[in-house]
Symmetry: C2
Subunit: 167 residues, 2 copies
Amino acid sequence: MDSLLPPELVEKAREVIEKNRAAGRRIAVAESCTGGLVSAALTEVAGSSEVFEAGYVTYSNQAKRSALRVNEDVFDTFGAVSVATAWAMAKGALEASGADVAVAITGIAGPEGGSPAKPVGTVVFARAERDGDPDNVVADSKLFDASGGRAGVRLQAAVCALELLTP
Amino acid sequence: MDSLLPPELVEKAREVIEKNRAAGRRIAVAESCTGGLVSAALTEVAGSSEVFEAGYVTYSNQAKRSALRVNEDVFDTFGAVSVATAWAMAKGALEASGADVAVAITGIAGPEGGSPAKPVGTVVFARAERDGDPDNVVADSKLFDASGGRAGVRLQAAVCALELLTP
């Protein structure tokens, strides 16, 4: 048995582990809609413990608050699927883990939970770096093709998160 | 695309979500060697947000300390792969998440990290419940068949963790 996850995910994860190991960077992830997939892909790679510090699967807002110290006001003002929440999650993961770089993912994998403003397939990403400029917010909202269902959205989101972790 | 993960894992996860939803229980997981697989399987199920509260992928000892408040002495005395560590992780996940039940997994997926006393395939599980008797430690050490490699050990461990979450 080689892998439990789709090959494109594990190949990306292997690249993330190898390049961050070479750069001497430890990484963390904060996952909402991907729900542990990014962490699972990274830890599928043998030797990932040298690079992967921690993953926070913060599905509920309560978990985002308690594990990542995301402020209640951020949800109230911008919603759980927003650049503000993703950025707060990434910064929270960096602080909580002591890693050098953290990526956060929050979105709507479906089939429920979409709205006209934020349809199913909307996923927001953010990356925070230990020595990064705090004014330089690296965050982006994407709308993925949702025709492949929940699994399809999650896969596209996980691949995108791994790309953000590639130095 | 139906699922990103092996069908036996997703079927077990679906059962966990359905039965815990029926029981009105919210769940959390603390994963070391499974590295997010259990969380990824649970969140693959549509509607899992009603049941799944949070996952903590605490790969390093530092992450086990900071996210789950596992005491340094536990590692020093018993090691990271021990009933004492698994139990402390499960209790920590329960406290941190506010869930009703939490399962923890810590083990040696390989190919490195084994020893004569704790060979590759050694995985320790614990379950903590909110209203459980604190003297009733539900924890168990297993030795899985490691012939299927790292992926095989991780799959067997994830299935076992899901069984512990089934009411």
